[in-house]
């Protein structure tokens, strides 16, 4: 992604008034719900601390945890695959599908599958695939991309969803969310009953028991993991928690942070394929369960300063809390992981060189850190990435000159005072409505992206002098 592309997307998003209003309302509501949900815990800090500790403990010995997890999965009758990158993950899942004659897949919501662009790979191999989460279904019908990791169509109004259904499904237009959900239920019910392959992500992998934990509110994940004869779960190697107690804490904070619920409606703990196909009637459930463990850049995030980022449980709270996200929405980030978490994940997983703009897209106000249920110090990580950018890429000669000039002036109080007096006289002539939108000379680079306030009538040191 080039700088100019990123800036163009941000400009487009900022110009979209409807998007603004919708985003502002939704993120405010989500934050209020989250606060209420945490208030129902006797000791929210203790639960958050335990959830964080579980994720960090898994990361600290991740190699051993992965090996143990694999052993437990295999003992439970699950087939384990490893995928270094997106291509390998797609090829693995396509091979599972084709070798078992699967032609109709249903999918639960999975950010990892978005990451590797699995749908395109399956379709190229002749496997029909349908998204079953309502939001993802709309995204798929509209050939769009999700704009939020929890609420994929946060950028769409109900009227727009009605138009998409009208156009793609040939139904009468309606803006009623209940009616739209009913249409999706009917259409997808047929697909669930006919599917021979279910694909899901997983929210957590419990090492001590070799269990996959997958949550959903709609029930589509339960369908995807229960009805088709083959179930494939794709999970990043960062999804592990050591014990059931860690899972318990993680589930409590995930539901609260993501949607403001005490508990997600459906929590599926998958231990393996059905055990008694020979019983009468035969046990329900898949004949085969496959787990694909995906790296795809996660080991790059794990190295050095940014390791803590892998404790992320993908709750979306930092997106909702972020003033930048509230203004530009998810698509502007140009990555399926938007907001503060994405601004750390994308450059580390995909390479800083192509995504150097993302860590800059933050005011470092700290709202994300405050919101994060597992206490990830996002501002610190963003700063670390900014440092790394500067170390990797030579800074522009004009910026270097400007910084030198700034340092020169700052070290000379008398010169500073003189320049300040000049600025007070000159600046008002350049300002429009109290802001400097286009400053001269070396400052023009700054005002290309940010407005400058007019110099104060009295500076702090002048005020201080009058107090003594």
């Amino acid at each position: 992604m080039s700088d100019s592309l990123f800036r163009a997307r941000v400009r487009a998003a900022l110009a979209d008034e409807t998007l603004h209003v919708a985003l502002g309302r939704a993120t405010a509501q989500l934050q209020a719900r989250r606060a209420t949900a945490f208030a129902s815990l006797q000791d929210p800090a203790a639960v958050r601390a335990r959830a964080r500790a579980g994720k960090l403990a898994a990361l600290r010995t991740l190699d051993l945890q992965l090996e143990e997890f694999e052993r437990r999965l295999v003992a439970n009758g699950i087939t384990v695959h490893w995928a270094r990158d997106a291509e390998e993950a797609c090829a693995t899942i396509v091979a599972i599908a084709t070798s078992r004659g699967c032609r109709r897949a249903v999918k639960g919501k999975s950010m990892a599958s978005e990451e590797i662009e699995l749908n395109a790979a399956l379709e190229a191999a002749g496997v029909e695939v349908v998204e079953s989460d309502l939001g993802e279904y709309v995204v798929q019908l509209d050939r769009d991309r999700p704009s939020h990791i929890i609420l994929p169509i946060l950028h769409r109004t109900r009227e727009q969803v009605g138009r998409i259904f009208e156009r793609e499904l040939g139904v009468d237009w309606t803006p009623d969310p209940a009616a739209l959900a009913r249409i999706a239920r009917e259409r997808l019910r047929e697909r669930f009953l006919a599917a021979d392959l279910g694909i899901t992500g997983a929210n957590f992998g419990v090492v001590e028991t070799g269990t996959l934990c997958i949550v959903s509110n709609e029930g589509n994940v339960r369908m995807s993991s229960s009805l088709p004869r083959v179930h494939v779960a794709l999970l990043g190697i960062d999804k592990l928690v050591p014990t059931q107690d860690d899972l318990d804490a993680a589930l409590q904070v995930l539901a609260r942070s993501a949607t403001g619920q005490q508990s997600t409606v459906y929590v599926s703990l998958v231990n393996g394929p059905r055990r008694r196909a020979d019983a009468t009637p035969p046990e329900e459930g898949p004949d085969e369960v496959h787990v694909v463990l995906l790296d795809h850049g996660r080991t790059r995030t794990l190295a050095g300063e940014t390791a803590e980022m892998l404790a992320c449980i993908r709750c979306g709270a930092c997106l909702n809390a972020c003033p930048v996200f509230q203004q530009v929405g998810g698509h502007a980030y140009g990555s399926i992981y938007p907001g503060p978490m994405g601004s750390v994940l994308t450059p580390t997983m995909r390479g800083l060189a192509d995504h150097a703009e993302l860590p800059q897209a933050s005011s470092l106000c700290g709202a994300c850190k405050e919101a994060c249920p597992v206490g990830i110090d996002l501002p610190r990580l963003l700063l670390a990435l900014r440092r790394a950018t500067v170390a990797e890429q030579p800074i522009a000669p004009t910026l270097r000159l400007a910084l030198r000039a700034w340092a020169f002036v700052m070290a000379r109080p008398r010169l500073l005072r003189l320049l300040r007096r000049v600025a007070r006289v000159v600046a008002p002539h350049l300002a429009r409505r109290g802001w400097l939108r286009r400053a001269p000379g070396l400052l023009s680079g700054w005002t290309a992206h940010r407005d400058l306030p007019l110099p104060a009538a009295q500076s702090f040191d002048e005020w201080w002098a009058t107090r003594r």
Binding site: L66, G135, L151, G219
Partner: protein
């Protein structure tokens, strides 16, 4: 090098420089309900169900439970757990339903999908969150709590536990051999369109709990 070895190698290499805060793990979160008397579990369970929009029917005897279940089913097509996993009084009462109303679990899936009511017992019920825990096994089919628009769950007093931790402890012998465990907290819902709460997207849009003695 194969993918497994290479990924594990990358993990080991990354861990040499990874900066992961070393914090002593706090104890697992505990809930005041764990030490509360069991009648408080019952009250909390009822309150949580109400908040979730679940219809709760408290009955004082096994016979009353069976009558309530049959009344809830009415004349609708039923997909139920096998008799062996239902309370005997309920199984006996179901035997009196008109022939054909209760679907045969061995029927093809398309037939099961026509059910209008699903009936199950539960393996545990969590007071703190109003959740039901259902093991998936050959005698505990998954579809009755998943496909029909209404799910009726029978909860006995002895199924009640305070928390998820307590439930997992209670089921620890059954779990390792089960293919899956499902926790259900309220009816199927979504808020994907403009954060509007909508019930019954894929799973049952209505959930009723018959709570016995």
């Amino acid at each position: 090098m194969n993918a497994r070895e290479e990924i594990l190698g990358r993990v080991r290499a990354a861990l040499r420089t990874a900066r992961i805060p070393a914090e002593p793990p706090p104890p697992p979160p505990s809930s005041p309900l764990e030490s509360a008397p069991s009648h408080e579990w019952r009250a909390r369970f009822a309150a949580e169900l109400r908040a979730l929009g679940v219809a709760l029917h408290e009955e004082a005897s096994d016979a009353a439970v069976a009558e309530r279940v049959v009344a809830l089913i009415g004349t609708r097509r039923l997909l139920a757990w096998p008799d062996a996993t239902l309370p005997p009084a309920v199984a006996a009462r179901l035997a009196q339903l008109p022939a054909g109303q209760r679907l045969d679990l061995a029927a093809p899936r398309a037939a099961l999908a026509t059910a209008e009511v699903g009936l199950t017992a539960v393996d545990a019920a969590i007071a703190e969150t109003g959740s039901l825990l259902l093991i998936a096994a050959h005698d505990r089919p998954r579809t009755p709590s998943l496909l029909p628009p209404l799910h009726v769950a029978i909860v006995r007093g002895s199924d009640l536990v305070p928390t998820l931790r307590a439930a997992l402890a209670k089921l620890r012998h059954a779990l390792p051999s089960a293919a899956a465990l499902h926790r259900i907290t309220g009816p199927s819902r979504t808020a994907d369109i403009e954060l509007q709460l909508t019930l019954g997207v894929h799973g049952p849009g209505a959930l009723a709990v018959v709570l016995g003695p």
